[in-house]
Symmetry: C2
Subunit: 324 residues, 2 copies
């Protein structure tokens, strides 16, 4: 949560004038995003009826050369009916601009709330919306490799080292051997599309039980679609600390997904293994962040063990956690 770059209202007003959205009316820095600064911006609207946008300033972690992929994907999905915010282009057609030495993009604001305790009905909607993205994105002309796949997760965990991992929490170093084993068994022939790969509840805006918006595509990449479903399953179906699996939510998610795009038999078989890999992806990034974070920093440290618990659940699940 942050606004890393102070922005003078006068400079913001001048930026907004480069778009056909009417004059700036209000702007509030919002406490979201760890790799960028965000403002909720209100303008008079092109038609004078008022309009709202998210202005995103890219601060770090994002390779600006990848912005055309991320921003183009939003437009591509939005044009195909997915609940995804459009990128607003300036009068010259640019999807991004420079402001205060940084790159910014103006993105459609979608109302909705990010739930903390998803219901099965909400998970069913999310599954269906995710499948819709997968189908819509299959012919998206740009591509991006997954920088956080199982091999990368294994390498990151190995760099952390067993001793450091045990220093974070007893038992965490097991992630290294788990990742190595999964890497050697990883299925490489499952059907692919552009995947979100980070569809946690805070990246979904709900209106009741309906998905009103899917946001924050900055980890999107070409991946196995069933892996994206496994990530989403791990993100939606557990208590935050991974201590409890909510079977109704997890099964509704897959049911919703299959109502739009039925899984193939190999995908179904691969789901438990893909879910373990998804858990290790978050264990790895959380462990790295934990060890790299400066002491005393006010950034919330996310517990890697919350995803080790999920991994143990998937590895040991007696009943099928994906299907009723």
């Amino acid at each position: 949560m942050a606004v890393y770059t102070p922005l003078a209202a006068e400079d913001l007003a001048a930026l907004i004038d480069a778009y056909d959205v009417g004059a700036l009316v209000s702007a509030k820095g919002i406490a979201e995003g760890v790799s960028n600064s965000n403002w909720l911006v209100e303008t008079a609207g092109a038609d004078g009826a008022g309009a709202r946008f998210i202005l995103t300033m890219y601060e770090r972690r994002i390779d600006l050369g990848e912005l055309p992929f991320f921003l183009g994907l939003l437009d591509y999905l939005s044009a195909r009916g997915c609940p995804v915010p459009r990128t607003i282009h300036d009068r010259d057609g640019n999807a991004s601009r420079d402001l205060a030495g940084k790159t910014v993009a103006l993105i459609e604001f979608l109302p909705g709330i990010s739930v903390d305790r998803p219901t099965a009905a909400q998970a069913r909607s999310v599954g269906a919306a995710l499948a819709g993205v997968h189908l819509a994105a299959r012919d998206f002309p740009l591509s991006r490799a997954n920088a956080l796949g199982i091999a990368a997760s294994h390498a990151a965990l190995a760099r952390c080292g067993a001793a450091s991992l045990e220093g974070i929490a007893a038992g965490l170093s097991e992630a290294i051997t788990r990742a190595a084993a999964l890497r050697d068994r990883w299925p490489e022939t499952l059907p692919r599309s552009v995947c979100h790969t980070d569809l946690f509840p805070d990246n979904v805006l709900m209106r009741g039980e309906r998905v009103a918006g899917m946001i924050d595509f900055y980890f999107a990449c070409n991946e196995a679609m069933a892996y994206d479903l496994a990530v989403t399953h791990a993100a939606w179906s557990f208590a935050r600390d991974g201590s409890a699996f909510h079977a109704d939510v997890g099964r509704a998610l897959v049911e919703g997904y299959e109502s739009v795009r039925p899984l193939t038999a190999p995908e179904r078989r691969a789901l438990p293994l893909l879910a373990e890999g998804a858990c290790l992806r978050f264990v790895a990034s959380r462990a790295e962040d934990w060890l790299e974070g400066p002491p005393g920093a006010l950034v919330e440290r996310k517990d890697p063990m919350a995803f080790m618990r999920r991994l143990h659940f998937y590895a040991g699940a007696g009943e099928d956690p994906f299907h009723a």
Copy 2:
């Protein structure tokens, strides 16, 4: 800038249901406020046409026993035509409620932007709006003493100590003797009302040259009205670091004020001294914050010298900085 308390959407939705404002539609934590957390909240509206609010959660620094003063003042001023947000009362008439163990208030959202480089025309509007508040608030039935008057500022600076102040910046310890001298000469018979006492540009929402909102009344207290004008003059008429006085802005501010409420002769005479006192109030609080702030904290430290420079300007001004 912060949201100190995570808030589950489900708990927020339940809170909103206690008000007659329609169901929760969206909520964004906003990066404003140092002593409270704030969310920009959208609801369906009592009439279904949509409505926006600021939800404030009081975290620290504020004595909850004083909330009836602060929230009642907003309603009192708003009812008298001042551009001040109303407090929304719940269905039982309460101006504040408890949520997640904290006290919260739902406050009208006013659109507008906080300028960084005020123009003379904007300062004139702010002066007029401030005078409007002073006239409207004269009969406000509650009262609150100024906890940050000249005696308190002197005591705070003395507690910091000359050595620590010099450690922040060479020349800063002069603030102690300046404050002692001002305290002994402080005028006690100037006309009073409820004063904002912290009306920096970020506490004013502008629509072009018009004041659309005055916010953050959490330092409001019964004070000499001319002191409030002096605070506002020091806050609006200088470069942020105090290095340059913008004469046109400073004079337009006072002109706008006097267009609504002409100053008395004693007030006019007292303005330079009151402005020096206003500067010392901010020198004192900034010095205390500087010395108290934990090392490495991510909170921006505001430079006390920015107000020592203003003080020197007021103490040595050849021309009248308040009137043309």
